[in-house]
């Protein structure tokens, strides 16, 4: 059988082909999961484990307003943290593909150049949806409850919006550092960045300047908005940023996406320099 490359003007439009190629690249990750289901299981189990450790070991030591259980506060914080963990998942995948030559293989083929980034985005969003679903189930199991469904859906939407914005930060950092070893450094920084927020404790309990930094952490806006929309009690706080949690949970990710999507696309196009 002799196979010639199909003609340039196929039945698919350019956009259609770009989307089809993007999906083909994303499917590669789904096949990875099917080949190595344990990786997916452990990936989803990690935030669940952290949640149980914090909830049962540290939870008793935290004063929770309105007499609610600590899990009621912890869960929206952990949902936000899980979105943050997605950052290293993305960066790891991007650096691994670059280091192993998979990115170059794709770039030498007649596929839509955008497919590499689109595929990464689709696969990582699906992965985060799975992780979030596992953690929501864990939350329900330990007694956390959202007050109503539309609010819960909006909260999940905002969490995934944050994840989507961090995706481009992850792609940018992956293209920038290139070296898979560098990802370890990022992983080390992820926890402090996550802790420097309202996810686990009230920023008002931190030293003044540190509390302000924590309140302006984009993760705090998403977590505060999620608490509000889930109908769970929040830490309150009278600052402007704390009082505009929902609009800021939309604004931050849009800003991050605008900046880092542009940077990522530019860096990707410049791989040939």
């Amino acid at each position: 059988m002799t196979i010639a490359a199909p003609a340039l003007d196929g039945p698919l439009t350019r956009l259609g082909r770009a989307l089809a190629d993007g999906w083909t690249v994303a499917r590669r990750d789904l096949v990875h999961w099917a080949n190595q289901p344990l990786t997916v299981v452990f990936g989803a189990a990690f935030p669940v484990l952290i949640t149980l450790v914090f909830g049962y070991l540290f939870g008793g030591a935290v004063d929770v307003p309105e007499g609610a259980g600590y899990f009621t506060f912890l869960m929206p914080g952990m949902y936000g943290m899980t979105m943050l963990f997605g950052l290293t998942i993305t960066t790891t995948a991007v650096t691994a593909d670059a280091a192993k030559g998979v990115t170059d293989r794709f770039r030498s083929m007649p596929m839509a150049p955008s497919a590499v980034l689109v595929g990464r985005a689709v696969a990582d969003m699906l992965n985060s949806v799975l992780m979030l679903a596992a953690l929501l189930a864990c939350g329900l199991a330990v007694g956390w409850r959202p007050s109503d469904l539309p609010g819960a859906a909006a909260a999940v939407g905002l969490l995934l919006l944050l994840r989507f914005s961090l995706l481009w930060v992850g792609v940018y950092l992956g293209l920038l550092i290139r070296n898979p070893g560098g990802v370890t450094v990022m992983q080390t920084l992820e926890f402090p960045v996550g802790f420097l927020s309202n996810a686990f404790v009230a920023p008002s309990t931190m030293p003044g300047w540190l509390g302000a930094v924590a309140e302006w952490n984009p993760l705090s806006s998403t977590v505060a908005a999620a608490r509000q929309l889930f109908g769970n009690p929040g830490w309150g706080g009278g600052s402007w940023i704390a009082e505009h949690a929902v609009p800021m949970a939309v604004a931050w990710p849009l800003l991050i996406t605008a900046v880092f999507f542009t940077l990522s696309a530019r860096l990707y196009r410049r791989l040939d320099r």
Binding site: L12, T24, R27, G101, V102, R105, R107, P110, M111
Partner: protein, 333 residues
């Protein structure tokens, strides 16, 4: 099929390619021979659209590599250390993925993957990361051949492979060439260029330092060498003098290994001359009563090729490679 003119690539102050010209006709195999860091891979990356040249132009299958990159990508296959397969996918999953990305459609991609798996003997279900070196390289080769590309780039296709796997890859490449595929091959091994290429460009420090058929190059390089190891180190000088009588150039001696190495160039195409020289020298040594422990007639190693071509300019590279087990030697023990 492949033309390059004054191809340059600089990274800041570092110059990877200093202006390379190439002409490879349809169905020909051109070998780029050079040590690590010579610029071979940079050249391949430019010709496969992965890298933009700083200056100069190149076309592959009639398309400009910068302005018509997507047409070039439809005409090439890339096999090499830098364009790998996905290690978490099986061979079949990899080939199906690449077939889909070549827009063959799901059914044809599946059929093509099955065909290539059989042809390259890759019927194995584990992830590609667990393949042996030879299998892995055959999978790379198959991945570069999804659409029977008119031009195939082989970037060091056998580096790090054991001799048997290397011979296997060479057989596959010869099959492709006999089907009319145009090939640009990069290699560190003189022997590989010798076996596969019609023409060889010797690359060093970003420029082509010699070009010709393998036969022409070898003749130019002073031909073969006669190596002798004498039993008694005291008689090394005596043996060197006898070898010098038959040598075509300066004779080198090494007291540590009690080795004498003499270039023995014959006229072009006179393969018998070197063997005659060998018998003459051995006879003369026997007459003088110098006992010989080991004798070998061999082609020059890549180190010697570079030393000759660059007048010692690539001595660093050669020193780095000295003692590497991958030398091209035909020993007579």
């Amino acid at each position: 099929m492949l033309v390059a003119r004054g191809l340059r690539k600089t990274y800041g102050k570092h110059t990877a390619l200093q202006g390379i010209d190439l002409d490879v006709g349809r169905g020909a195999v051109c070998g780029l021979l050079g040590p690590n860091g010579a610029g071979k891979t940079t050249a391949v990356r430019i010709l496969t659209t992965l890298l933009r040249p700083t200056a100069g132009r190149a076309s592959v299958a009639g398309y400009d590599v910068v302005t018509q990159a997507s047409q070039v990508r439809r005409s090439i296959g890339l096999v090499g250390q830098h364009a790998a397969v996905d290690e978490l996918l099986t061979g079949r999953q990899n080939l199906e993925l690449f077939g889909r990305l070549h827009h063959l459609g799901a059914a044809r991609a599946r059929a093509r993957a099955a065909e290539l798996l059989e042809r390259f003997g890759l019927d194995h279900d584990g992830p590609a990361g667990e393949y042996s070196g030879g299998m892995r390289r055959r999978l790379d080769l198959a991945a570069g051949m999804i659409v029977d590309p008119p031009v195939l780039f082989l970037d060091e296709p056998t580096t790090g492979l054991d001799p048997r796997s290397r011979a296997e890859i060479w057989d596959r490449v010869r099959e492709l060439v006999s089907d009319g595929t145009t090939v640009l091959l990069t290699t560190q091994y003189l022997e590989e260029a010798d076996r596969l290429a019609d023409r060889v460009c010797v690359v060093d420090r970003g420029r082509v330092v010699a070009e010709g058929t393998p036969g022409e190059l070898k003749a130019e390089l002073g031909g073969d060498r006669l190596d002798l190891v004498v039993l008694d180190g005291e008689r090394l000088a005596e043996a060197a003098a006898i070898a010098a009588g038959a040598a075509s150039g300066p004779v080198e001696t090494d007291p540590h290994t009690r080795r004498v190495s003499a270039p023995v160039a014959g006229p072009k195409g006179a393969g018998g001359v070197r063997v005659r020289v060998l018998t003459e020298v051995l006879a003369a040594l026997a007459d003088a009563g110098v006992e010989v422990e080991d004798v070998a007639l061999r082609r020059p190693t890549l180190d010697e090729v570079f030393l000759t071509l660059t007048g010692g300019g690539a001595a660093d590279a050669a020193r780095e490679r000295a003692g590497s087990p991958e030398r091209t030697e035909e020993g007579v023990r």
